[in-house]
Symmetry: C2
Subunit: 291 residues, 2 copies
């Protein structure tokens, strides 16, 4: 998808600029850059900018917020990979941050990325944005990333490593661990575009479905994907006896669930007053990706 590629390239050009201008210890900057530059789909920036674009706004006004959200996503990966969490040595085929810089610096690089993301948003220089819009962005993003959002989901996920979760518990984990930051990317685009309250409500419903189908697809790829393409060993979740959709519903059940969420996502999207083409295409991209 050329929109995805363009947005990925724009955010990958901008992220190092934000780090390079910092007056901070060189090792810290290197560790932050290492994980920011480690690639990935950049799906959150793409969702933010796709939303802006679908409301007929220039994507440039969203670039710094997209970078801030990508920094928060990156910090969460660094902390998730730590020995006391998932204890992963590889991420996207490269050594994880703590394998290269040590645990202490990895923890601090994560802390720095999280904190800096809020500074970036508080200092947005885009002249069309009001102070109220910037505060709304911070409030939305902090809630999505914090104890009621991503961090809460991660805590519930850790509990799930000790016992098999119910389907409801599993949905709670994904809603928050993955879903909330995806949702806040889309809602941030809506805030930047000055969308109506009604549109924000339906975009939230759309995003929630998108987040769930994103996770179900991840679980399915872990069962039947190609190790080289997805960048981690296939079947690693099954081996760990982890709570996943295929483990709970069977592979066919998980695929039916995926189709259900695709249908619902698109239904909600049609209620939003915008050009729907791009977000429909992104939904299909997320549902059909091979990594």
């Amino acid at each position: 998808m050329s929109f995805m590629r363009e947005q990925r390239e724009a955010v990958e050009r901008k992220l190092p600029e934000h780090i390079n201008r910092l007056n901070a210890p060189i090792e810290l900057k290197q560790s932050m850059l290492y994980s920011l530059n480690a690639g990935g789909k950049r799906i959150r920036p793409a969702l933010l900018n796709a939303t802006l674009h679908s409301f007929g706004k220039p994507v440039e006004i969203g670039l710094d917020v997209a970078c801030a959200i990508e920094m928060i996503h990156t910090y969460s990966l660094i902390h998730d990979d730590l020995p006391s969490m998932d204890d992963d040595d590889l991420r996207r085929g490269k050594p994880t941050n703590h394998k290269v810089y040590g645990e202490a610096i990895a923890i601090l690089a994560g802390d720095a990325l999280l904190t800096y993301s809020f500074e970036i948003i508080s200092k947005l220089s885009e002249p069309t944005l009001t102070a109220e819009q910037k505060l709304q962005l911070i409030s939305e993003i902090a809630k999505a990333a914090g104890p009621e959002g991503m961090v809460g989901g991660q805590v519930a996920d850790i509990a799930g490593e000790k016992r098999t979760l119910t389907l409801d518990e599993l949905m709670y984990v994904h809603d928050h661990k993955t879903g909330d930051l995806l949702t806040c990317s889309i809602i941030s685009g809506a805030i930047l575009a000055g969308a109506s309250e009604k549109d924000v409500i339906y975009l939230r419903k759309f995003s929630k479905e998108l987040g769930l189908l994103f996770q179900i697809k991840d679980d399915i790829l872990d069962v039947e994907g190609d190790a080289e393409t997805i960048g981690k060993p296939v079947g690693s979740d099954t081996d760990n006896n982890k709570s996943t959709y295929p483990n709970l519903l069977g592979l066919d059940g998980a695929k039916r669930k995926l189709t259900e969420h695709i249908t619902k996502a698109k239904e909600y999207l049609y209620h939003v007053e915008m050009n729907h083409d791009l977000l429909l295409a992104l939904t299909d991209y997320v549902a059909n990706r091979d990594h």
Copy 2:
């Protein structure tokens, strides 16, 4: 000092309210509360509220920002105590967070406190505050806590455990690791009070001196304090061959340095158009405390 006690009690009543209202996993909330409730001097809230009070404003308008800054301070202690950092089993005479909740939850409780602090500020309901003031607060606090501030100082401090730092390097560590969050407490009070730019400039200079004398006093207490009163073994820094003021300058040299910074701090303070009594008293309190 009765002002210190009153402010400490107000912030200790308010902190649990912020956590209890969260819709988040119970273990996460318990871990966040455990460290927030572990006591401490609450010096940052006191500095913020003292500044507000000295500008003739009611301290109540600063309470939530004071709580947010105390959450950031608390998150930094949780992460500092981790096995990969200082590896401390005790903090203020009680088991450290990771000793009670495990490393994973401790890291996440820190992440949650940091993220939530920005949400709290973005949602301040105080009617006299403008959106611009709230953004200024977020910008000030994020910079002080992030890679150019506290986290940067902590990274430099870790480097100092491998070799003896020069006096300049040691000042860099303390300027950022401890000083920046103290400064931002005072500047946050000034922002909330609507202080002039000139007053903010001199308060920054005052704060920098205060931060340094705070740290020098800490180092001196580690040499000659009472273990029970300060809540950790006396001499633990000397044993570790850590870079401290007494190790670099000798105990008498460190005490002379302390007196120099007290004098400078007070000189800067007199340039600020406010009632100086309370911040002068707080400076003496910090310089003369026994823990």
